[in-house]
Assembly symmetry: D2
Homo-oligomer: 387 residues x 4
């Protein structure tokens, strides 16, 4: 027998713009979310890309019913309810604003856009749309790693007391070899910035997310260790940072350090976060994303210590939907959780976080770090409007 | 546009028998495999279960086009090419033998069956079918954890020299609390055995898989720590083991110890394997399944040590199909890899391992352990016919 | 000015018999103990060895006032109050019994002796002496690793509930290379046994110490991986075990597994102990001897996990005498603590543990393992007289 | 028999100034060094302190032949060859300069002194003395942790290629509790600075030591989380930092980050150092001081990973003198090694490192960090004269 007819309302039609790394991850999430979570039914209606052959292949492979090359046509289609933007950053603003104007819910990958001005316009468009019941979200997917959501809850519930010091780093090593050639990611005009924008953005969003607080000042340093790489026409200067450092003051009095690198040999995708409070501490590493280290400072010192919580219990955020305890999940699940929350928000007519405002808030911090670095490291104030 | 018409050959039709834990994991694998691996096209045609409402819900949730309640009708359907058996163990033999006889490829979850006699019959049916180009496989999915496949390769390539000592354990804790009530899993008549059959089977298969060797003798001990639990009609004796211990001699001269438990408080799903050779050593823990610890004993002792390999490089088994380096995968991916290999085998007209013979080989070891335990621990020979 | 005259009672005179590895460790402990602990004053009076030049050098190096070659003369000297026996095992009984008879307190390194009969005689001599206020102790120094004493306390205080399963192993790798030549340690006639007597003894003492319980039955297996090694006169058979395995039943209902090896490549001195109870669990590794992993099963599962206790707090056993928190101690300190407790016992006219009876109890378990192994692994009862 | 008469030259007479924490550690080292290392004979001649009772007790406890209260008298004694200064920082310059002038070799605990001017004078006195064969050393004892000396060697031997990024932190937690009362350590006038001078000094010395390089610029931030504590006369402002952050540029092109804290709850004495080069990487934590993590980037990525080297092999720096492999050492041993090298230098008529110049170099970096922090974080140049 075929399964029961679905409810009268048709599934929400989804259009995906972009089909590279993030498009693949989002496709997997759209395809899987309904098998594990109670969410509105969705249809993987259409995927959009510039290169017909490639986008057609992606459609077939990832399970999209159709493919198209012109996002403008797609976002106004009546059978599209959600536009998921995984295109390069310089296209985010135009697509997102148009899609919101067309009444489509919008999920946009980070960064929100490549400029503060564009992001500001996106925030305004999101606010206008929200007033009409049209919602938007930015893809800081690490907020949906169960261990990090658990960390947030422990902090929010006071288990750490007053948070004082946060140490965040995001270390990768794919640029260690000077022979690795030039790419658009290493040119300021196309990439905006280097490790700072790409991965410090995640670290900074986590700091604000975990603490429920806002960065108010920043001191920064940027550095390019390999200053020249082989381009198509010979050696070419690298014009973005390989590594970045910052200290961040938060409104609530905590201070966070952030360090990121693409030349930290041996670190593959190591977003590490340590949070030290007056009553407890936490430690996390994305390379062991099913684990959270927690120290309860209210216990007797005789038995105190960082405990390794394997965040795979039914009681833990998100994981009850997957497998029994001890059956670990992977990186991709954070995207599935993100789409789960986005869809539940739509179903309940409320916006899911993180909003475009959260994306803008991160960009403001990044801008302050760049400004400080350019000025030799002197501290720069960050507008602390919280989303 | 819709994607290109698929090749003339229709997709392989899959029938899934059973939709509980393993059925959910297999469904996820069938749904995902084609998005990540080059495999023959498949159709999730029908899921079978005894309870109409439940199986209908499972079909809708997991993406099966139809549902049915009678597996006999399903396995003979012309549009079914593959039968995936996730039903309880006592049904395995009957379904598998019938499906093979009907010319369907068969994937069966472990254990192969509940008795050696049934398993022997299944092995014979599999051999007959294989001669006709109909293939079968048993679901020891941990063979497809990339770190364990890498471990196997390192051993096969001689990086460990002569393997001498293997330490394997599989520790869980879901029976720690004496108040946890009686279930069919704790009655010998329904479950066959306890921790031994359920999880020692995985450990034993790994020992034979990693070493490419066969157990030739076993000494065993079984114990039930909580001997009585509350059943529907009051306290009831627990008639299977909570924990088991064995030492195993292998044909090649190595000795393996195996210890399993369902009362190892704090261990959630901890299949740990250590392999000590004359030239290198390995260590693995399923709770950190993206990591393999490897020590190269041929290096200078000054810089020798167990190195933590994060098994997420494109060069590592399976993982190139997923995400960039450092983006970890989860438990479920072992099932996707298993189905990938099963399908590739079908496409290439050769059987994928582990075969039913491998399943039987594990059962013979389990039987020897039980026999030894019943005799106070004296060593028992195991028929060492290798698959 | 010179320090105040010491109290009228002269320091306790110590004679050390033996000056190799253990003699060096004991010398260090005698030299240091008074600087860190409140113990009776002692004098490092004389060290005894067979080879004049070597023992003279040892005396100079380790701080012994005199040296001698005949232990018989030394142990009756009036200025000797304590005889510390680090001589080879086959000399233990004779020296210890004579020293006790001479009214000297005796500390003897493990093993108590090389035979059960000798050990029985030593136990009797110790009992007789004890009645006269002359005390004796066996050097299971790992009982004085602070983390293991803390483990014992946690178990004794009920923090683990009912202990069910213990996993102990002691892994070394100094015999990995088949080219390592023959030594007296690898001949049964001189060494008694191999890894079993040498290191399983420590593991077994820990099991009984931590649980405050006695082994009542044992099932064992012994194996020699490298069966022949180059001796002074050509290849020679190795007649002791390289590795040993056992399961042990305890009077209180727990079951312990023990596995030891001298060919576990990469394990240098890895005595690992895991204890699983109904309410908590523990894990320890001698290679990280300042740490104890403890899981409190009475906590919410949301924040449950093995916590790494850095056992360097003033509140922890022994360590308050050393350095501030976080300043780790080493292996040798276990010997200093042992002598501290031995001396405090003498000062307080009560025997410190572990007694000769504890040493004999371990030997009985070892003997049962050997007997079981010789019989193919069938379980053997152990006399469960607790010390 | 008594040991052979020592050589005609009398032992080097040692005077220790100060007997608190560091005095206890140095005493232990003086008492032990000759039992483990081949060094000139020494005599623990006299310990000096201001409080007669306390210093007398220390002399008795730690094994000093005499005690005295006036260091001026002691340092000119003919039977004193070495002056070991563990007095508070503000006394260092006066004592050291006087002792050097008196022709005594001088070991001084870090910090070199409390002011740059004093340190400059000490450096000059040391240079003058050195020309006369009188040597001096500063007690950055962590240079003699075997794992860190091994790290230095690996870097010096090119195993890391070009070092790019260093991450150093030193985290403690003894000031977490706001109820911990005021002490002289928390007043700027007595302590100079807080975490910066106390523990960042170690981290900075390590950066320069490991890389064999010199810091040329610094950007800093200081913060006091608990700004008021209960003093003898009521609440009192805390006038030193609880935590400090810096980025440091090195002459060779590397950049190091340094973060220190006294409120990092759960970190007890955690000096962690990560070094990322173009060909290899290292990681270390003082709480596991017997281990060094090393990644060899020249290996196949298939088996690449951070390997845990247990730095206890005879081939490793210093440890061959102690115990067999796998028998770990503790924090105090770094002091014994320091005195070993100091004595060997004297015996060989050459100065051991680190010199007073190294101490001054660290202070210059600390001063630059303070200056930068006071200026809001802008980068400050550091005089890069290498010692």
């Amino acid at each position: 027998m075929t399964p029961d007819t679905p409810p009268a309302t048709r599934p929400l039609g989804v259009a995906l713009i972009g089909y590279e790394f993030m498009g693949k991850a989002h496709s997997n999430a759209w395809r899987s979310v309904g098998s594990f979570f109670d969410v509105p039914a969705t249809s993987m209606t259409v995927v959009v890309g510039r290169t017909p052959d490639a986008v057609a292949a992606a459609a077939a492979r990832y399970g999209w019913a159709e493919w198209a090359t012109d996002w403008r046509e797609v976002i106004t289609r009546d059978d599209i309810d959600i536009v998921d933007i995984c295109a390069p950053g310089w296209l985010h603003a135009e697509i997102a604003i148009a899609a919101l104007a067309a009444g489509k819910h919008v999920l946009v990958e980070k960064p929100l856009s490549n400029t503060l001005a564009e992001s500001q316009a996106m925030v305004e468009a999101a606010a206008t749309a929200r007033a009409r019941g049209v919602f938007s979200m930015i893809g800081f997917n690490y907020r949906r790693v169960p261990a990090l959501e658990l960390a947030r809850q422990l902090i929010a519930n006071g288990r750490l007391g007053t948070v004082r010091q946060v140490r965040a780093c995001y270390l990768q090593d794919w640029l260690v070899d000077p022979a690795t050639p030039m790419t658009w990611r290493l040119r300021a005009e196309t990439a905006g910035s280097g490790a700072l924008g790409d991965i410090a953005s995640h670290a900074i969003d986590q700091v604000q997310f975990l603490l429920g607080d806002a960065v108010t000042d920043a001191s920064g340093r940027l550095h390019t260790f390999v200053t020249e790489r082989e381009g198509p026409d010979g050696p070419e200067p690298v014009t973005v940072d390989d590594a970045a450092w910052a200290t961040l003051g938060l409104a609530g009095g905590a201070i966070a350090s952030v360090e990121v690198s693409r030349v930290a040999l041996g670190a593959k995708n190591s977003l590490r976060i340590e949070v030290y409070g007056s009553a407890g501490s936490l430690s996390f590493d994305l390379e062991r994303l099913n684990e959270l280290q927690f120290l309860d400072g209210t216990e007797s010192v005789v038995t105190q210590g960082f405990r390794r919580i394997l965040v795979t219990e039914p009681e833990h955020p998100f994981v009850g939907a997957w497998w029994p305890q001890g059956h670990v999940i992977g990186w991709e699940h954070s995207h599935t959780h993100q789409i789960r929350d986005f869809l539940v928000g739509i179903a309940e007519s409320r916006p899911a976080e993180p909003s475009f405002e959260h994306g803008l808030a991160v960009q403001r911090v990044l801008a302050a770090i760049e400004e400080s670095a350019a000025a030799g490291g002197a501290r720069v104030a960050v507008c602390a409007d919280r989303p």
